[in-house]
Amino acid sequence: MKGLIIKDLMCLKKQLVLFAFLVAGVLAVSIMYVLSARFGNIALAAEKMIADNQLPGPDVQKLGSLALVLFMLLPIAMVGDMANVFDADGKAGFARVAGTLPVPLRKRVLSRYLTIFALFGIGVVVDIVIAAVLAALTDMITFADFFGIILSAASIQSIYSALAIMFCILLGKNHLDLARFLAILTLFAGVILANLGKIIAVVKKIAASSSAYNPEASGDISFLWDIRDFLIEKWYILLILAAAVCVSSYFLSCIAAETKRGVI
């Protein structure tokens, strides 16, 4: 089974090289950003926003930290797409070889899920290094907050990967794009359903503000802080959710792989 994980990582090698470049880019841009937020133009812009009463002081700081949150999400989002492994296997005809190896089908499926955890580990370690550097340079966000965001982002990425594996096995090598789309769709549907009340409230406020000028409504971006705070503080919910999705999608994938022999 270990050999299959090695093979999966080899398939993602190209993507991991891109990932390395992206990490370097994110690190450079985010350092420039925090330095500017402390000493440069961003700091001046923030002061002006506060002086002009556009946003209150704490919101300006939160807005600044939100940009850093996005920077932290990028490396994990780019660390690897499991659908690419299915794509590479499909092109090579590796599923046929895999069927002749002394690895039971459920272990072949499990190896894909363990690859997710390997990628999860890579993403988390790299992001922790970036977070340590940034936390030392800024007071917009603490290392503990960064840590929460990293775990939240890695959990979301794991949920996507687990769903992508399941859909790839269910739909087969000829429908990988559809499998990716369905994985993203399921992920978004989950987020929307979990926040339906808040989303309706925000939409209502926006609708009200577009029909008549209402500075209170148009300036309300508190839902962004809710998302940010959720990612920082409630990371364990996403982690538990990721574990649950991985386990249930693993069992479903095993059933699908057993029924549709030759996919993995």
Partner: protein, 288 residues
């Protein structure tokens, strides 16, 4: 007398795809033999091999490998099976070194030294991406992988198709070396009967999902013959002896299933030995 052990045994194995059915297939492959699995394209050779490897599930019947049923322990049994397909199956970006690294974490008995020795013997580069290999090189790489975990059974699906005669001959020599060890067995599927005539001890002939002939190759060749006569003389020949006939402007030819009996009954007619290819063609035409 020592009992002959069968490495592969199929009993009334059935797989129905709707448009194609592998119908109650039964045959066995004795230990230490080379079994040629012949039949035209689409006859059911690959389906049978996939069933033996438990890559696909059978609808009915029993399959035993090394005396054990494949139902629960197919993965463990595959430790002792080397498989070669008509297409490589490894990712084009992989080098032989990468494959060695992957396989040594998969097979318990993987022998890296043996693998690199085979690469040397087959003149295969270890650091070059296998996507740049020729067809012959790709097949040799598969054989090196199949042989480097001390497999006792080699299952090959059309390994020589599309190869030039020199590479084909090289590969046949590799297979010959492999079966020198008395517990090594080969199941070799091919529609190139010339290769099998050189190599096989046993022959299983499948057509339209059914086993048409199975047995010792020399006995089958000895038994069958091509009877040549005038068209009008063919009517004298007992229909129970004739597998099928072929007419031409020069006369008639028929494959007979008992050459000696035919020679005794019809001493004036010419009966020549039949090649495997001819046997295959006449049997296929029988039902056509």
């Amino acid at each position: 007398m020592e009992e002959i052990k069968n490495v592969i045994e199929l009993e009334k194995v059935t797989k129905d795809y709707g448009d194609f059915k592998l119908d109650s297939v039964s045959f066995s492959v004795p230990e230490g033999s080379v079994c040629g699995f012949i039949g035209q394209n689409g006859a059911g050779k690959t389906t049978t091999i996939n069933l033996i490897l438990d890559v696909i599930k059978r609808d009915a019947g029993e399959i035993r490998v090394f005396g054990e049923t494949i139902d629960k322990n197919s993965a463990a049994l595959r430790e002792d099976i080397g498989v070669v397909f008509d297409e490589m199956g490894f990712h084009e970006f992989m080098t032989a070194k990468d494959i060695n690294f992957m396989m040594k974490h998969i097979y318990k008995n993987w022998d890296s030294e043996m693998f690199f020795n085979y690469l040397k013997e087959f003149s295969l580069p270890s650091k070059k991406k296998c996507g740049s290999f020729s067809r012959g090189m790709r097949m040799k790489l598969q054989i090196a992988v199949a042989l480097s975990h001390h497999a006792k059974l080699l299952i090959m699906d059309e390994p020589t198709s599309g190869l030039d005669p020199i590479v084909r001959n090289e590969m046949i020599n590799i297979f010959r070396d492999y079966v020198v060890e008395e517990d090594h067995t080969i199941l070799l599927s091919s529609h190139i009967t010339g290769d099998l005539e050189k190599l096989a001890d046993e022959v299983v002939f499948i057509d339209k999902g059914r086993i048409v002939l199975a047995g010792n190759k020399d006995e089958l060749l000895e038994k069958h013959g091509i009877l040549k006569c005038k068209k009008e003389d063919l009517a004298q020949v007992s229909t129970s002896l004739i597998v099928s006939t072929e007419m031409s402007s020069f006369g008639a030819e028929a494959l007979v299933n008992d050459r000696r009996a035919a020679a005794k009954l019809y001493p004036d007619m010419v009966i020549e030995p039949a090649a495997l290819e001819q046997i295959m063609i006449y049997y296929v035409n029988r039902r056509g």
